[in-house]
């Protein structure tokens, strides 16, 4: 059952992205930035966490999840250590994924020959 909800919710989030791309002059980079900010704002409103609980990877695979984990990290550290947590908490939960993207991204690009 978890697969069905992941497929439906993940798919629908991408449909919204596709519509924004097709109906505006935004590039795909703009759409990705928009979704990260939306994920962050929805987290602030307390709406993204229930979506992750409900849809699993359907909510945690789209880039909007970056906004969710970065904002959640800030909230967690604000509670634990106070004002410094607003900065120190940013990469607490999302740091692993960003490190993976930088490390694997660089590694695979090194191993690949440029086209043409």
């Amino acid at each position: 059952m978890s697969y069905v909800w992941a497929f439906l919710v993940g798919g629908l989030i991408c449909v919204i992205g596709q519509l924004v791309f097709d109906l505006t002059v935004f590039t795909m980079g703009h759409v990705m930035v928009l979704f990260v900010v939306l994920g962050s704002v929805l987290t602030g409103l307390g709406l993204y966490e229930p979506l992750v609980k409900f849809a699993g990877a359907g909510a945690s695979v789209p880039v909007s999840n970056f906004g969710y984990v970065l904002t959640s990290g800030v909230l967690k550290e604000l509670e634990l250590i106070g004002p410094w947590g607003a900065l120190a908490g940013v990469f607490e939960l999302g740091g692993g994924a960003i490190a993976a993207a930088i490390f694997f991204g660089f590694l695979f690009a090194l191993l690949t020959r440029a086209k043409g």
């Binding site: 993940g10 798919g11 992205g17 519509l19 930035v33 970065l70």
Partner: protein, 154 residues
């Protein structure tokens, strides 16, 4: 007239913007359906990875990190093989919005600028899309996090 690469690129981007404004309406329904199928399939694959980590004994709220790591790895790997760009031609936002698309944006840009050197080419340009995503993500997280903490108390 001699143009720097930067100017050429900017002119190209400007042209693409103009062209997008004047092109015939894209096949909305078809694009949306393909984005749904590809994005849904990638999310379902992510669910498989998540379920695997949970089956290994990780609590569900701790399994998201390693799942993201595996998906990023797969996105980077498939980009290096040249497969992900093909998926992207079909899936549009369905392949760009998932975290695999984030990895793809890094690897694709890094490969493209490899000829300009390993430092100011590859390492600098690989953040062409990832940079804005991280910058706006971090800024938004701090602002939204502080606002929520001050208004709702965490």
């Amino acid at each position: 007239m001699a143009q720097t690469k930067e100017q050429q690129k900017r002119a190209q981007e400007e042209y693409q913007r103009l062209a997008r404004r004047h092109r015939p309406r894209p096949p909305l329904l078809r694009n949306a359906l393909l984005a749904f199928l590809v994005g849904g399939a990638i999310s379902a694959a992510g669910q498989g990875v998540l379920n695997f980590f949970v089956a290994q004994g990780l609590p569900p709220d701790k399994a998201g990190g390693p799942t993201a790591g595996v998906m990023v790895f797969l996105g980077a790997f498939l980009t290096a093989l040249g497969v992900y760009d093909k998926i992207g031609q079909v899936g549009g936002a369905g392949s760009a919005i998932p975290i695999t698309g984030f990895a793809n944006s890094i690897v694709a840009a890094a490969i493209e600028f490899k000829t300009e050197g390993f430092v100011m080419g590859m390492a600098a340009r690989m953040y062409q899309i990832a940079g804005p995503v991280i910058t706006y993500g971090v800024t938004s997280a701090i602002v939204v996090g502080l606002l929520r903490f001050l208004i709702a108390g965490g």
